[in-house]
């Protein structure tokens, strides 16, 4: 087990290096640079030259490649071009925890509601409850999160005025309700569907039939015997969503005014803010890989037949 984890962690290194290389050259191959005018004013050539020099963009490409990598290995992800006086490290330190908290809260809601609802639908297969829940799940999956967020803001913020229309005041505030729910809806619906189909497989298994024959109550069968096995596919899919959700959703963060990392990444791409693009991409890559590893390891906990050597 320990050897397996170590191998997986070591495998991160070449993957990250590959991502670094691809992003590095892709950024520079994209037309338009960080100081090409974006507003209405021309950037004077002398000034642009000074900026290029200040941020070492006049160095040969291989040197830029090596220098940034060396810095990153020492934990220095460089300065932001757009936000003068701020570093990528500071930006990540400011915004990543917010995305992380928001994402974890959304996943807690998604799993906490999605799994029981999915199981309920499975147990009541082909009844009105089942059809109703799965209808809602299809809507949940097919509605983009920014539409959900916008509708929630207009209804609960503008018309009912129960919650502020945007902003962030921590996870335990009224402001957090809309982003958490908007972010949770899609994984919630997906988790519910997976939980349902997985539970349907399990309740047809012999051991469940035996438990029924012995006269156990339905609730006890589902919770004590079927649930654990039914959860394996759910964990896989939840892992994928978790990585997706904690790295920040650009749309939900933008619409609800949450200062998270997802929105920062997108803005930095349109500003060609190279260090921010690189720093956040590497961070997101690490998170996705680590979450995948955790998902794989959790299989062993749920199913004693799975062993990692």
């Amino acid at each position: 087990m320990r050897g397996y984890v170590l191998r997986r962690l070591l495998a991160l290194i070449p993957t990250l290096l590959l991502i670094y290389t691809i992003v590095f050259f892709l950024m520079r191959a994209t037309p338009g640079g960080p100081w090409d005018e974006t507003g209405t004013r021309p950037v004077f050539p002398e000034v642009k030259a000074n900026l290029m020099k200040k941020y070492h963009l006049t160095d040969p490409l291989w040197k830029q490649y090596v220098d940034y990598l060396a810095g990153a290995l020492h934990g220095d992800l460089g300065p932001s071009y757009r936000q003068r006086g701020r570093t990528v490290n500071e930006i990540i330190a400011d915004f990543f925890p917010i995305s992380l908290r928001l994402g974890l809260a959304a996943m807690a809601v998604a799993i906490g509601c999605g799994v029981p609802l999915g199981f309920l639908a499975a147990v009541r297969q082909d009844t009105r409850v089942d059809r109703g829940l799965m209808f809602l799940a299809v809507i949940g999956i097919s509605t983009p999160s920014f539409v959900v967020a916008t509708v929630l803001i207009v209804v609960f913020g503008v018309y009912l005025r129960w919650v502020p229309t945007s902003g962030w005041a921590g996870l335990l505030s009224r402001q957090a309700l809309i982003p958490v729910f908007a972010l949770a809806l899609w994984p919630l619906a997906a988790v519910a569907r997976y939980a349902r189909s997985s539970m349907l497989d399990v309740i047809r298994a012999d051991y469940v039939r035996t438990a029924k024959a012995k006269g156990l109550r339905e609730l006890a069968i589902v919770v004590r015997h079927a649930a654990k096995n039914a959860l394996i596919p759910v964990v896989t899919i939840a892992g994928v969503y978790l990585a997706f959700v904690v790295t920040g959703s650009f749309y939900v963060e933008s619409v609800t005014g949450v200062p998270g990392l997802g929105r920062y990444l997108v803005l930095s791409i349109s500003a060609r803010d190279y260090p921010v693009i690189m720093g956040t991409t590497l961070l997101l890559a690490i998170i996705v890989m680590v979450v995948n590893l955790i998902v794989d390891l959790s299989y062993a906990l749920l199913d004693p037949r799975i062993r990692y050597e």
């Binding site: 994209t30 338009g32 005018e37 209405t40 004077f44 000034v47 006086g85 933008s254």
Partner: protein, 542 residues
């Protein structure tokens, strides 16, 4: 290369240009009785990219303007409101500008604002090591060009000198009347040397920052909220507002966030209404009264590559110009809140005269195209309209395509590009052919014709490849002209040529859609870059 370096030397006859400008009276005070006890203004803004006046060159200048102030401010009526300076004198030859500073002016930590603060700040803004893009506003000053480019190392050679604590002398490389419009801009606001040196890059953070404006920064949680409070040690009339709460919304969704917060009564002032909501606002009995379209010194226009056929024929350009129904375009894009224009430059810029527009109608468009050899659009080469994906350009391009098809019988291809990619493409047009493009328009950085005619056509920033000898001579002569009447006459003549020749086609003037709650009074808009002047604003009891 800047426009001055290409302008011809112009001998100035001995005219004393001592500017005696009346002090602008502060707006009438609102009766104290009506004021709300809580003088807090709430609004939504975008995260400033910098609060350092020497660095802020984008939307950040709006917030810098609340915490700092410069020598003076030129208001929309042309009057000067003296702030850091009390007066300004210009020598006969137009080269030496002397600013007498206001000895009462203080930094918010109590230290006096002196001429050496200005000298140090201005040189800092030009320092190649700081690499600030606002450095371009200093290029009129002697030695600035060379210092910015690194050729001149010794900053004492730059034409900026603190003669004593309250006298600042600026020497120009050549006469530059436009500097009057520049000297009051945020890019030339002073910074407190003692604070900048103490905290380095972090001097603009809350707790460190020291300003000289009517407000001071109380807190700044990046990308969340910035709170300003009244600067109680301000030298002059202090604002009525005690506190300003800026809620910071993400750039991509700013307009929506701004408007929704306003509609939910969370804010008192909104600087934007999403296009999709304008109709609803205009029909709404209350909100329609709160909406104003504030005119900006900014226009949207089309640019031709006049260096090649068929665009080198003025009749073709005129035909394309006349075939555009601007009212229709403006209705589609702004529900009529932008102001249609047939000329390029906006009101307030010398040379502006709507009467210079082509005195023909859409009916003449087909005739002109026929005279150019393309009757009914027959034989007209394929061409492309290129634009960045911003500010409704997609809709604009489609409307133009349709209008030209109907009136002229020609079919435009449309290419919409990602904004940065468009900038790179446009810069590369310096020596490369194209057909026509439109961008995000042009905002006056300062109210002077050099900011339009000279930058566009003498510096060639538009890349329109338009080389009209007479026009170029006129605007080159006008730029350094110290006689105001003469200068206006030269630009007026140049503008006539520009509009007749149509190397560019003016489409509309931009406006800011402002929403103000009925209790918010005396909040002024400036047409230069749409500043909001919070210093005079008051909140009435409600």
């Amino acid at each position: 290369m800047s426009w001055r370096s290409t302008s011809v030397g112009f001998m100035v006859v001995g005219v004393v240009v001592a500017l005696v400008i009346p002090v602008f009276a502060t707006p009438r005070p609102v009766s104290q009785v009506n004021l709300a006890s809580d003088q807090t203004l709430r609004m939504v803004i975008r995260e400033p990219t910098s609060m350092d006046p020497n660095l802020a060159g984008d939307h950040s200048i709006w917030y810098v303007d609340q915490v700092f102030e410069g020598l003076y401010k030129i208001l929309d009526d042309g009057n000067v409101r003296w702030l850091g300076a009390k007066s300004m004198e210009i020598s006969k030859d137009g080269l030496t500008w002397t600013f007498r500073l206001n000895p009462a002016a203080r930094w918010s930590d109590g230290k006096p604002v002196t001429a050496s603060d200005y000298e140090w700040s201005w040189k800092r803004a030009m320092d190649p090591k700081l690499a600030s893009d606002v450095a371009s506003f200093y290029v009129a000053i002697k030695g600035a060009d060379d210092y910015i480019s690194g050729k001149l190392k010794d900053s004492s050679q730059i034409g900026i000198k603190a003669l004593d604590a309250y006298t600042l002398q600026v020497t120009m490389a050549e006469p530059a009347p436009y500097f009057r419009a520049v000297a009051g801009l945020t890019y030339l606001y002073p910074v407190p040397r003692h604070v900048v040196e103490k905290y380095g890059d972090k001097w603009t953070e809350a707790g460190n920052i020291v300003g000289n404006g009517v407000f001071t920064m109380q807190s700044w949680k990046h990308d969340q909220e910035m709170v300003l409070v009244r600067n109680e040690s301000y030298w002059g009339k202090r604002p009525t507002l005690q506190k300003v709460i800026f809620r910071i919304a993400p750039a991509g969704e700013l307009c929506g966030a701004d408007f929704r917060a306003y509609e939910a009564n969370e804010t008192d002032f909104a600087m934007c209404v999403p296009t999709a909501d304008i109709d609803r606002v205009m029909r709404h009995p209350q909100m329609s009264k709160e909406l104003t379209a504030e005119l900006l010194s900014a226009s949207q226009f089309l640019v031709f590559d006049t260096g090649r056929a068929p665009w080198n024929d003025a009749r073709v350009r005129q035909a394309f110009n006349l075939a555009i129904d601007r009212e229709k375009v403006v209705r589609a894009l702004s529900r009529g809140l932008f102001k249609p224009t047939k000329v390029l430059v906006p009101p307030g810029i010398q040379g502006y005269d709507p009467g210079h527009a082509l005195q023909m109608t859409a009916a003449d468009a087909g005739r002109l195209l026929g005279e150019a050899g393309y009757a009914g659009g027959r034989g007209f080469p394929d061409f492309k309209l290129t634009a960045p994906d911003i500010r409704g350009n997609r809709t604009l391009a489609e409307l133009l395509q349709q209008m030209w098809k109907e009136t002229l019988g020609v079919t435009a291809q449309i290419e919409i590009m990602e904004p940065k990619a468009f900038s790179a493409w446009r810069s590369a047009r310096k020596n490369q052919p194209f057909d026509m493009y439109t961008r995000g328009g042009w905002w006056s950085d300062y109210e002077d014709p050099t900011n339009w005619y000279n930058i566009f056509f003498v510096d060639g920033w538009l890349n329109s490849h338009w080389q009209h000898e007479q026009f170029l001579q006129l605007v080159k002569a006008a730029a350094p002209e110290l006689n105001k009447a003469k200068r206006i006459a030269l630009y007026d003549q140049a503008d006539r040529i520009l509009e007749r020749e149509s190397p560019t086609i003016g489409l509309w003037y931009f406006t800011d859609y402002w929403m103000r709650k009925p209790w918010l009074k005396d909040l002024q808009h400036t047409r230069i870059l749409g500043f909001f002047w919070l210093r005079d604003a008051v909140i009435l009891a409600h």
